[in-house]
Symmetry: C2
Subunit: 452 residues, 2 copies
């Protein structure tokens, strides 16, 4: 069976022109990065010396200069900044307390969701209504919600092997609860974090307001606290009191940072991640990993003397987390300058052991890339499948029809730490991070060689 | 390409009889373990309330009682202990200092290798000779080594994507250096730990003595210390001073712990891991993970009411680390009782995200199992390949020709923590651990159903 399988794949490969030379180049790329890769070391520098870097923050400015220098050090032929106007959200001070009829107010560990308005530094308190999903919530009349606080106690769907599938189902409980509660006159929304972690770590992340309704606050608690609240409310009334001065501030100019290796022609291949992060933790996996992998690919191409046919752009995108403006601007400028973009690849799913690359493009291109599978399999990348590209490169697809692709790392650990104080350097494994860079570099090498 | 591939696999599957029913059962097993699995919680209990548990230690005795109770709680029809005489090694106190011609003695972070003799509580000191591999060492005449200390500064071969391959190449530098140095009259051996970790953590593990030569001590330092020593010795003489009372003690009786679900017949399928660990860290990945996965499979079969055709044995083997006596005893007893063993599966490569199962059996059986690949792939197990079984089940193969198999988790992180103080519970991810149990349970289900 295995031999038959292998024959089919090799045959497919030969049809599309992969060669012994490619296999040797794959090995060179892998040896260079596994033995001499610097992605892990520069991730240490980014996370320990700058730390988290939300759009509009002083840390993001530092990260911009850092990325510019790193792209130069890695050997880019040219490095420049691309201006982007970004939304600015500020957390400020925040406190959340709970009590029952019998007890005193006690502090809760929590985080306001990103983009959430605060309480204007005033206490906002009320009785809590718990629902486990939108079906339950939607059945409640407005009078049951008016003046209350709604606890959306939706469990992360752990039954999916791919955690991004669970995230896709749970996401709406982070993004849409505040406006849903506001529509029925509630005071604020509290959610069980969108988290796979068996712990008490709250996770932030973007929420959106429907402009039709009042902009009430939305906050998140970790799984352990959510369990406790769910337990308390079974037999007694539960009250919460929130005080925060979170909120939006005037927009600012931030920059995406772009490095380039000049090709023999002007057609462009883009590879990137996003430089901004949420304002807790260190933005290590999300998306420091994607940034340092991107820079590692540049370094490796230069070190190995790979002279590409097409121009390769290494992009550290601005403002993925709470606006996606960097990616939009990049595509706008590409279109306005009439650039020809062949392909774009993003790493924004964590620096974990790669399992493949997801492909968002027409079927004939997917089939061609799948024919390269025997080349990738020795590096642990066995999935070359139809799927998602990335937030920052999708605008290239929407505006110009560019084929886009995303690195698919093992997803089991990602939503334990995503958007939380636990997204720190110590959660990143050097070899896993470097293997991701290897698989991406190999894919860029193949696309550059075989796509015209 | 993907469709063709899939057709080939599905066709293969149908030939060998996999059914829609199997796919449904796979899903049931997965849902049960991802949503209600207890492996992670009992691993917490084992690692935090007992901790490491070297053969012959009081902790191993506690772990024996713990495993007995866990197997009963998980619903075993029968639980018993199997006596095994085990070697007992004790670390005792140990200290290692270094100095150059100019400096004072300074402490080094290190570990004596497992089974190593000590210095009889006396200081043993001398000048250090550094070699990077056995080729270099073998070229040195005995007079260059006599009275000296040899530093084997062999780098873990990081270029291999599969870290077990690197381990296979580096292993000899842990196991054989002491006797090699003793043969040429050296005082003791110090090695760079067999470790992929970019850190200063020393790793222990078994070393062996050649009875022809003096039993001199062997110790290991972490990568950072090894780098420092390598750097110091470039331009000056380096001295080390070891004092330790490590050594072997009289053998003791320990027990493997065995639980059983009675089948419709007396043919036996074995699944297991090893209950002992090294005497540092918590034995979380090595091999607490294999133990709790084994118990999880039992719990899941009982919970789902899977009544097996054959008898399934869930074995917590004694003494894998420094003697492998538990596995040998299990096979001896199986043979002496004329038991018929159909299959054995071990998890002893860490509780990381599974990538497949390696198969050590004849090709026709491998082909049959490979025909089941489409069932396993949705659970991330894409490798059903010829390979290694496990230390504890290999005696079944050698003495009775039993087909054996081993869980293949992602290997990138394993040798960062293997046999070190860093092999702790916090390095284990709940979903990854549980996915391993899922893939193992699914394999046991298939073997039980289709093998006669």
């Amino acid at each position: 069976m295995k031999n038959l399988l292998f024959s089919v794949l090799v045959l497919g490969g030969i049809c599309f022109g992969q060669t012994k030379e490619d296999s040797i180049q794959f090995r060179k790329i892998s040896n260079e990065i596994l033995l001499h890769g610097q992605a892990y070391d520069i991730l240490y520098d980014l996370t320990q010396n700058i730390g988290h870097r939300l759009s509009g923050s002083p840390e993001y400015e530092k990260a911009t200069l850092w990325a510019e220098q790193q792209l130069k050090d890695a050997g880019a032929d040219k490095v420049w900044l691309q201006e982007t106007l970004v939304p600015v959200w500020h957390r400020g001070k925040e406190s959340l307390k709970y009590k029952t009829d019998k007890g005193e107010w006690k502090d809760l560990k929590f985080l306001s969701l990103g983009n959430s308005e605060g309480t204007g530094k005033k206490d906002v308190e009320g009785e809590v209504i718990r629902v486990t999903n939108f079906d339950e919530f939607n059945k409640l009349p407005a009078e049951a919600i008016k003046g209350k606080i709604v606890f959306f106690d939706y469990l992360f769907p752990q039954q999916h092997v791919e955690t991004f599938r669970g995230y896709g189902e749970a996401y709406i409980y982070r993004s849409h609860t505040a406006s849903a509660v506001a529509e029925k006159g509630g005071k604020f929304a509290i959610i069980r974090s969108v988290s796979t972690g068996p712990d008490d770590v709250p996770h932030t992340g973007t929420m959106n307001y429907d402009e039709k309704f009042a902009k009430i606050p939305a906050v998140a608690v970790g799984n352990t606290t959510a369990d406790m609240l769910a337990d308390l409310i079974k037999n007694q009334k539960l009250y919460l009191k929130l005080n925060s001065d979170c909120g939006m501030q005037p927009e600012k100019i931030n920059h995406s940072v772009i490095g380039e290796i000049k090709g023999k022609d002007d057609k462009i291949i883009t590879v990137g991640g996003h430089l901004d992060s949420w304002d807790v933790g260190e933005g290590a996996h999300d998306d420091g990993a994607g940034i340092v992998q991107t820079i590692e690919i540049l370094r490796t191409f230069k070190k190995l003397g790979i002279q590409p046919n097409h121009t390769i752009r290494f992009v550290c995108f601005a403002n993925e987390e709470n606006g996606a403006r960097g990616g939009v601007k990049y595509a706008e400028e590409a279109k306005s300058k009439n650039e020809t973009h062949l392909f774009a690849l993003e790493s924004d799913a964590g620096g974990f052991s790669p399992r493949g690359i997801s492909l968002d493009m027409d079927d004939s291109k997917i089939k061609q890339i799948q024919s390269w599978l025997p080349l990738f399999e020795p590096y642990g990348a066995y999935l070359l499948i139809k799927g998602y590209g990335g937030v920052d490169i999708n605008p290239l697809k929407y505006t110009m029809g560019v084929p886009v692709a995303g690195l698919v790392p093992d997803s089991q650990r990602y939503f334990d730490i995503h958007h939380s104080a636990n997204d720190t350097f110590d959660k990143v494994n050097k070899r896993e991070l470097h293997l991701g860079a290897i698989v991406m570099a190999q894919m860029i090498y193949m696309i550059d060689k075989y796509w015209k």
